[in-house]
Subunit: 199 residues, 2 copies
Amino acid sequence: MAEYIESLQKLAEQFGRLEGVGKKNAMKMAFSVLDMTAEEAEEFSKAIIEAKEKIHLCPICQNITDREVCPICADPNRDRRTVCIVSDPRVVISMEKVREYKGTYHVLHGVISPMNGITPDKLKIKELLARIDDGEIEEAIVATNPTVEGEATAMYISRLLKPFDIKVTRLAYGVPMGSDLEYADEITLYRAIEGRRDF
Amino acid sequence: MAEYIESLQKLAEQFGRLEGVGKKNAMKMAFSVLDMTAEEAEEFSKAIIEAKEKIHLCPICQNITDREVCPICADPNRDRRTVCIVSDPRVVISMEKVREYKGTYHVLHGVISPMNGITPDKLKIKELLARIDDGEIEEAIVATNPTVEGEATAMYISRLLKPFDIKVTRLAYGVPMGSDLEYADEITLYRAIEGRRDF
């Protein structure tokens, strides 16, 4: 009968467009909105518009921000000699949670994926090259995902950065902490053996 | 760093308020909104407000609707002599999918749960009694969930309906189709044995 309630159906469709939301969950969410007060729904509705309006890309690192320059690029305590190249703003959030990395970031906004029409020119690569061309950066850590596309992007970028006189590194691959070796996949195990270190 | 992007954080909090949405998924959804075009976000925002504004309760069955009277109550082909009493509009949707039931509904909007402050007067019970008092209804099918609270509500309602000269029935309980008896819980199995039928 939900088909009969057009505005409920429409709202569920909107939720269904979000990443990782299935049809059933979308309807659950639409019902949650009905359970809200009119003020709460108004606030929710406004939050969507505000987020879209206020958030843009940092002109330096291309990360999303609601300020002129993102807080990381604006922070005088961050080490501008090191740049960590990531595919997505979400990775920046994960990295920052570690509280170990003190350099800056560069967000590519995707990985090279010709099958999906994502060619290098669709990524924020020329912005990266311009930053490195400025001469302040001494090390670039390529931190794309350890997937086929992530690896290909890493290789592409490392080759692009070769002509510059900087150190290009990448994250260590291996078995994740707390994991069970019995269930580790072969490629991860291979990487862990290949990258083994002395005690 | 998401903490730094206030409008993104706010939007994620709004998603986090929805039923069944955890913190991580809420942030994923907020990012999905950023991936939308301005028009899509506008449409999403409007869908929330519209659903809240247009949807109200059907004055007859108390189901949610965006019309004056809900399409089921307004349908001349539905059998007004049978009413199926459910806790929630979502149950109506599930029942309608079966395409077997031709009667009307009555939505209680909850089950009796004194621990959560839901006493019988918080449910649409007096509206149900008024409908039955009208004299058209001949059978009431109490279709609350087979949970402790659902059963208690069913018992309460069946007792309330006793003084009226109508048939009061409930759904059959048993093992669900396609299930594995090995994994069925004891209460379900007990109900299945208790309710066993001749071939």
